[in-house]
């Protein structure tokens, strides 16, 4: 699906312009992570529910990819799939997760274990639940290290102190218990733990959602600084689009288990191609500028056991057209609106569609079989 073309991207020190160099389909050299047509289903008593329907996603070394969507859109499932942390009743029903060319889906558990934490680390939503409340931070770091390496006590201590300093926590806290740290510090300690082996990829599942605004902002800045310093790639899942606006290079918008838009962050923010992305952007009040009444997105995300026919967003879409109710849109190439390629799953981008607002174009004028893949 991806054709390697241009030059490898080093960890880009400049966030806001990095987006400009990004190009969705054309992956530079070998992508660090290449998720291909990943399908994850939950087996339930009433049959399988597909939480992740054919997701394609590439992450280059040192890149920061944001994944946004409402709860239940499959973003956390996708993240678990990437880290192969899913457990029954979830299972991979198809597709590949290529990490440096190796398919994690078929990798034997032992090799997978070697890979995880060393090369792929995970930071979870609630540090308090991921940390053992009755053991010190230092002990838990030690456990994590010893699970992969036979380091000396000395070396373990040094490395633990080193990563804590990286996240601006005084190493004396190696002797602290999780409850003695503030929420923000616990989350930073989790990130420090993820950094123990300086992984190439860190996947984060809403690591800031339990924090208040100030701590949240400070943690985001810190993650970004660390990323620039150490050069790891980040896949960052959140429901708050505004949170990643200044930090991610590319943004993947998910809705009802599908990718609905994927492109350079700036482009998606400035000119959202999918009505859902646009609605998400409209959904939070601004702190500056005139106070305008907002509507949010009416309704709730669909039940994935019975996704709506046609475009899955059509029941809530402000721009819905007749054909949206029956026709399932592909991911269409929107072109380089803001300097990088964007793909969008909306029929208004269907090649041949006289763009947007033709509300009643009698019937679909096209056979509509143009297989446009994000490539």
């Amino acid at each position: 699906m991806s054709t390697p073309t241009s030059t490898p991207t080093p960890p880009d020190p400049d966030t806001d312009t990095a987006a400009g160099t990004a190009d969705v389909g054309a992956v530079t050299g070998e992508p660090l992570l290449d998720v291909r047509d990943l399908r994850i289903v939950y087996d339930s008593a009433r049959g399988p529910v597909e939480a992740c329907s054919g997701v394609n996603l590439t992450v280059r070394p040192g890149e920061f990819v944001g994944i946004v969507g409402e709860s239940g859109c499959g973003k956390s499932t996708l993240l678990f799939g990437i880290a192969q942390l899913h457990s029954a009743p979830a299972r991979i029903a198809g597709g590949q997760v290529l990490f440096r060319g190796r398919d994690l889906v078929t990798l034997p558990p032992k090799e997978l274990n070697d890979l995880r934490w060393r090369d792929i680390a995970v930071v979870m939503q609630s540090a308090m639940n991921a940390l053992n409340p009755v053991r010190t931070i230092g002990d838990q770091f030690k456990d994590a290290i010893l699970a992969h390496e036979k380091w000396s006590e000395e070396r373990i201590r040094e490395r633990s102190a080193e990563v804590l300093r990286l996240v601006a926590i005084d190493p004396v806290h190696l002797r602290s218990f999780p409850h003695q740290l503030s929420g923000g510090m616990r989350q930073r300690a989790m990130i420090a733990m993820a950094l123990l082996f300086t992984p190439d990829l860190i996947v984060m599942d809403e690591p800031t959602s339990a924090l208040d605004v100030v701590a949240q902002r400070s943690l985001m800045v810190q993650i970004k600084e660390l990323q620039q310093q150490l050069g790891f790639a980040v896949v960052f899942v959140t429901h708050d689009m505004s949170l990643v606006s200044h930090f991610s290079d590319r943004l993947l918008v998910m809705y009802a288990g599908q990718v609905v838009e994927f492109g350079p962050t700036r482009t998606v923010f400035d000119t959202p191609s999918h009505p859902y992305s646009a609605s998400l952007l409209e959904a939070f009040p601004s702190i500056r500028g005139p106070k305008v009444p907002l509507t949010g997105i009416p309704g709730d995300p669909p039940n994935l056991a019975h996704p709506p026919a046609g475009c899955r967003f059509h029941p809530r879409c402000p721009q819905v057209q007749e054909r949206c109710r029956t026709e399932q849109p592909e991911l269409f190439d929107v072109g380089g609106v803001g300097g990088g390629a964007v793909v969008s799953r909306c029929l208004k981008h269907h090649p041949g569609n006289p763009l947007a607002a033709s509300v009643e174009s009698a019937e679909p004028p096209k056979p509509a079989e143009a297989e446009v893949q994000p490539s």
């Binding site: 806001d16 208040d212 605004v213 100030v214 800045v221 689009m241 200044h246 998400l280």
Partner: protein, 344 residues
């Protein structure tokens, strides 16, 4: 039901007293505790809050600022350590008897933060609403009347079709729907003031606005006042008439929402504002204050509690607790530097 437009901010309340006010309200908790020594955590210190009729007052602060304790003081879950709460001019400490207590509870219900925990999972979602009516709506004497009111409040918070919704169990509803049930429950009491403790913080960004709009609608159509507790100053701006910023148990700034946000005087308010992610604005990295520790509210000494994180701190901040000083009509801040006391 007279709308109070000019609210006296302090001092003896003239005619047209506010719906609810607190006077030097404080609540301290014992922490750490051995038999011989314990420390006092000053969760709320000397707070004077007023809420008028048909008014949404936002109480903004980070976790540990005392804002949730305020809600629980007003909901009479906690008893004040000192100070008083006056509702419609009457001191709550004077309330005697279960019926007076119940009356207050029906006038001032509370909506909780976590919609996943605030409904009893073994009952249908109508359970809490019906129980509330039983306790607080003696006027609804018949089954039919209660049923009609049930459907009315459920559809008033935007849940449709109400007949179907009320038959469901909590786990069959989304977080946003459950939180609407929380509001419906409060609404069923015909309240004067709803205490909303971070009602949207656990919901998706995309459905928060819907809930905030419900609050505004209830204010406009049902004449309900709200105390909206949040750490999200952007949503406070969206929905509130007045705003009150708390830090470390103290009110550091208060005033009409637009005035406070357009011209924040207290450095903490400024920090809060700068931390709001705004994709339309360029990134300003100001992590200095953000990295610092939470305020020392355990056995605090006099002084400004924000001083350790404050870029403007002067000597007086470490010794004298700043008091709220007017900076504009009805807009006050507690800062030695930006809002000095007259004559200081």
């Amino acid at each position: 039901m007279t709308a109070v437009d000019e609210r006296p901010e302090a001092g003896p309340a003239p005619a047209g007293a506010p719906l609810l006010e607190t006077r030097n309200l404080s609540r301290h908790f014992k922490v750490g505790g051995s038999l011989f020594s314990h420390q006092l955590l000053h969760a709320v210190d000397d707070v004077n809050l007023t809420i008028g009729e048909r008014e949404i007052v936002a109480l903004v602060g980070e976790s540990g600022s005392g804002k949730s304790t305020m809600a629980r003081l007003l909901a009479q879950v906690y008893k004040p350590t000192s100070g008083e709460i006056r509702f419609q001019g009457r001191d709550l400490a004077q309330l005697r008897g279960r019926s007076a207590q119940l009356k207050y509870r029906s006038d001032v219900p509370m909506v909780f933060q976590d919609p996943f925990a605030s409904l009893n999972p073994v009952y249908k979602v109508s359970h809490g609403i019906l129980r509330g009516m039983k306790l607080h709506r003696p006027d609804l004497t018949t089954q039919q009347a209660r049923r009609a009111e049930l459907l009315r409040v459920v559809s008033a918070v935007g849940l449709n079709p109400p007949e179907e919704i009320v038959e469901r169990y909590p786990y069959e509803l989304s977080g946003g729907q459950r939180q609407r049930i929380g509001f419906a429950q409060a609404l069923a009491y015909r309240p004067k003031l709803i205490l909303a403790d971070e009602p949207v913080s656990m919901l998706d960004v995309s459905i928060r606005i819907g809930l905030l709009n419900v609050m505004a609608k209830l204010r406009d159509e049902e004449g309900v006042s709200f105390l909206y507790i949040t750490h999200d100053i952007a949503s406070a701006r969206y929905v509130s008439d007045r705003i009150m910023v708390m830090y470390g148990g103290h009110v550091v700034e208060q005033g009409p929402t637009e005035s406070v946000l357009a011209d924040p005087k207290h450095p903490y308010t400024q920090l809060l504002l700068s931390a709001v992610p705004d994709p339309r604005a360029p990134l300003e990295v100001t992590t200095e204050a953000a990295k610092a520790e939470p305020p020392a509210v355990i056995d605090p000494k006099p002084g400004c509690r924000f001083r350790a994180r404050c870029p403007l701190a002067v000597e007086a901040c470490a010794t004298v607790t700043p008091l709220l000083q007017p900076v504009e009509p009805a807009h006050k801040a507690a800062c030695h530097v930006t809002a000095p006391a007259p004559g200081a």
